[in-house]
């Protein structure tokens, strides 16, 4: 259905009247916004292509092209504002080197082939590997940018059709620890609160997340809140100074990498010692547990957490831990050594500052919102540090109510919506279900209409192990889609070499522009992106959003859902996607919805998302979205009189975990005296594959420098602009030095963004991971620096 601007105004207003159950989500596009960019003939709604904040945009179209975007003033997330990446959306589609046809490697060159040839080759490689080596010799590596439709389809193809669980998402690299943290503490994934808390709280705690650059629109909501009310306090705990420690942060604490474990326990120590714990809440809603310690770092192939059969990734349920219930007194004893003075010695933050922060969080007159992202999640004890921040909110009862709550921020537009909710992970099934659980398999087999034996109970390879298996030769054929692992995997040198070892290995890559991963492919498939296809995504605050296809993809580029279905047909599994006359997208979504229905993950019907501006937050029950989960009056799953019930756990109680400080996998020493931490910049999205094609973004940050502390630079005889070698035990890169600007690193720390394919910093990083979540730690390894 095509609409002119005025038609759209009328239609949206009319639909608003018809859909009174969603009054807050249905608004007409204001006339002045529509008039503002006269270059566009027509405006349609979509979420932004980029981060997990999930901003709503209005897409301006003219003669079959995207010519402008506007922040959607009625989108509840961003209220009309966008960041520079969002404003650059029209240009991401039109880079000069966009893939327009499938390409097959012939020696060191790629030659264009037809889609029929490409799909036949792809299917024959799949069939050959399955016949010779079984279904577990193939792998799918998708993305937190994969849409819900695509994720659901490929998950079904793999788990119900091919019969292998070797399907992962790059969300393993960004959100796995958050997921493991949610499951171990609450028994259920995803935040209880939402962005509305930003306007309702008066105290923000930002942990190891430069969200001024990575989640800019959310950051600006926090800043505007502070501007409105001087009583609002912002605490920023970081490993280096960055835009998130600038004005208007009130307390800035720069801690040594990895010592957040000690700080969080010291804060709990202060809260308990000074009587700031909410005893009534703790008694009613919480149990105390301790788990395994000394759990290792996963640097070896086939690493198994804990070494015990019960915790074996392949045979037991994920996130397993040998949990032992303890009582409040035992927990207090566990906290005893974590005095602020002890933590101060480890982390370098003064003990008084730790006390001050703990008192702010514990103050019964204040509310508290904690935010974190990769600093916590990309951490060899990522699950633990997620648990520890929940401890603080559970001890004080500041959780699951307006203005109070921990909010785990997401990196990718659909890490929540697709990877986590659809379960595009080696251990998961859609709707928060697990392959290792016989009841869950039964339910999946019923919905998918396949024999239950078809669904393997064994989790497949997690991301790092998947690429180790490709290197070893255990994986023969891999399809990589919407992600760039040969730039982003830690210790990527090994995995790049592994991909090109030849023998029976065959690497298929669906991409939009040439990337490091495409350069390692045997077969490149040109994909459609963003509004060149219909899609649905889910953001940080459980908000599901939908957009329609608006423009055609260039050349022969095809959307990923089409690629998945065509592959299925050639593998004689076309029946999995045979919905007769029904439109495929709608049929897939309506089928997917059955997985979560009645289990706290209820989604609205497809038609509702197709109409609603700005999306809805699940569970959506009887036409109403849910803003705060686990709280009576807000969450339809909490019965009258229950008050607060963490219904993900069988006893309705969340867990406070006694998690100790344990050292990281690698620390600076005489040979390699610096901490290396990696991350992103505002202007570039992940590996820059899309954003570097936008000239304005490329000109804003044309390459990745290394930030070094001026004193360290002085000692090494290095000046700003000098070229230096950054070397670890695994590899090296050369780039230019930056001493200040947007970041200022403390002595002993260097920071390098990972977007630049010519400064492949992941050649240097370490492939250690959190043994519980299997998420790698990109934030700390040891390097040396020398002038070249």
């Amino acid at each position: 259905m095509k609409l002119s601007r005025r038609d759209l105004l009328k239609t949206l207003t009319g639909a608003g009247a018809a859909l009174l159950s969603f009054p807050e989500a249905m608004f007409p596009i204001p006339e002045d916004v529509a008039e503002a960019a006269e270059t566009a003939e027509e405006w349609r709604k979509s979420p932004c292509r980029f981060c997990g904040v999930g901003c709503g945009v209005l897409v301006g179209l003219r003669q079959g092209k995207v010519v402008a975007v506007k922040g959607d003033p009625e989108a509840p997330v961003n209220r009309g504002l966008l960041c520079i990446k969002g404003y650059s959306l029209p240009k991401i589609l039109y880079g000069s080197d966009r893939y327009r046809a499938p390409q097959l490697r012939q020696g060191n060159k790629f030659v264009e082939i037809s889609w029929d040839q490409a799909l036949d080759i792809m299917a024959s490689k799949f069939k050959e590997a399955i016949e010779k080596h079984g279904p577990e010799s193939i792998a799918m590596y998708f993305s937190g940018q994969t849409t819900i439709f695509e994720g659901y389809a490929v998950n079904k193809l793999m788990k119900a059709g091919i019969g292998s669980n070797n399907i992962e998402s790059n969300a393993r690299l960004c959100m796995a620890s958050a997921v493991a943290g949610f499951y171990s503490t609450f028994g259920m994934d995803e935040p209880m609160g939402c962005y509305d808390d930003f306007e309702l709280t008066d105290t923000f705690f930002v942990w190891g997340s430069n969200f001024a650059e990575m989640h800019p629109i959310l950051y600006s909501r926090m800043v505007e809140r502070k501007h409105q009310d001087p009583n609002v306090k912002i605490v920023s705990l970081q490993t280096y100074l960055n835009r998130s420690t600038d004005e208007p942060a009130d307390i800035v604490a720069i801690f040594k990498p990895h010592t957040d474990l000690a700080i969080a326990n010291a804060m709990a120590h202060v809260i308990v010692k000074e009587g700031l714990a909410n005893d009534a809440f703790v008694q009613k809603c919480v149990v105390f547990k301790k788990g395994l310690t000394g759990i290792g770092y996963g640097v070896e192939d086939n690493f198994e957490y804990g070494g015990a059969a019960e915790t074996n990734w392949k045979t037991y349920r994920p996130f397993a831990d040998k949990a032992q219930t303890i009582d409040f007194e035992e927990y207090k004893k566990f906290l005893e050594p974590y005095t602020p003075e002890y933590a101060a010695k480890l982390c370098g933050v003064p003990a008084d500052t730790i006390r001050q922060i703990a008192r702010l969080l514990g103050d019964p007159k204040r509310k508290a919102v904690s935010c974190w992202t990769m600093g916590f999640n990309q951490h060899v004890r990522g699950t633990w540090i997620n648990n520890l921040v929940y401890n603080l909110h559970l001890l004080t009862g500041k959780i699951a109510e307006p203005g109070n709550g921990p909010l785990s921020l997401t990196g990718q537009p659909s890490a929540c919506g697709t990877s986590r909710e659809v379960g595009v992970l080696a251990h998961a099934l859609p709707g928060g279900k697990f392959v290792a659980n016989p009841e869950h398999r039964q339910k999946a087999a019923h919905i998918w209409n396949v024999p239950v034996e078809k669904i393997s109970p064994r989790p497949g390879y997690h991301a790092v192990e998947m690429f180790r298996a490709l290197d070893r030769g255990d994986i023969k054929v891999i399809w990589i889609n919407t992600t760039n692992p040969f730039q982003t995997l830690p210790n990527v040198g090994r995995y790049r070499r592994g991909a090109r070892k030849g023998s029976e290995r065959f690497v298929i890559v669906s991409e939009v522009y040439p990337s490091e991963t495409a350069r390692h492919a045997d077969l490149i498939l040109p994909s459609a992106m963003w509004v060149e296809k219909e899609g649905m995504v889910g953001n940080t605050e459980r908000r599901t959003q939908h957009w329609f296809k608006m423009v055609n993809a260039p050349g022969q580029a095809k959307d990923d859902l089409w690629q998945i279905v065509e592959l299925a047909k050639r593998l004689d599994l076309g029946r999995l996607f045979d919905y007769g006359e029904a439109p495929l997208h709608k049929a897939l979504f309506e089928e997917y919805r059955q997985f979560g229905e009645g289990s706290g993950k209820d989604l609205a019907p497809y038609d509702v998302y197709a109409k609603v501006r700005g999306g809805l937050r699940w569970p959506v029950v009887e036409g109403r979205e849910t803003r705060w989960r686990y709280r009576e009056g807000f969450d339809p799953y909490v019965k009258k009189g229950d008050g607060v019930r963490f219904y993900g756990q069988p006893d309705g109680r969340a867990v406070i975990w006694a998690r100790p400080y344990e050292p990281p996998a690698e620390q600076p020493d005489e040979q390699y005296p610096f901490w290396l931490t990696t991350g992103r910049v505002l202007e570039h999205w992940h590996t820059g594959t899309i954003t570097r094609r936008v000239l304005e973004l490329h000109r804003a940050v044309p390459f990745a420098p290394v930030w070094i502390n001026p004193e360290d630079a002085g000692l090494l005889g290095i000046k700003a602009g000098n070229r230096v070698r950054i070397q670890s035990r695994r590899g090296e890169v050369i780039t230019k030095v930056q001493l200040d600007g947007r970041n200022k690193v403390p002595k002993g720390v260097v920071f390098v963004p990972f977007f630049d394919e010519n400064v492949l910093i992941n050649l240097v990083t370490l492939d250690a991971y959190d043994p519980i979540s299997k998420q790698p730690d990109y934030k700390k390894c040891a390097v040396r620096i020398e002038k070249v």
Binding site: P248, R699, R742
Partner: protein, 111 residues
Amino acid sequence: MIKPIIAIGCVLGVLFGSLVLLSGSARAEQVDPQQGSKRLPRVYEGAPPLIPHDAETRKGMCLACHEFGIAGAPITPHPTRNDFCIQCHVGQDLSVQTFPPIPFQEENRPK
């Protein structure tokens, strides 16, 4: 309270304004950026204006010039959005050309 701030703002503004006008270039994210002092064209109508001067070392000072248009600086239509100007408005190194700088050459990769 507000008057001294405006006064200080004006002084700073004139200082930075003249910096822009006289030197025509300044330090930015990259070490030797080539920058002018002229307004850059918008990417499309409605896109945020780009910054033709160094923004990194002057962060937090945007309003000194852009609140009242000192030294010809464009006046911001949204002065309350200070503290996060640079999430929409970004600096530009005009010496940098389109990415990728050379055509995709499969022969050279992968090593």
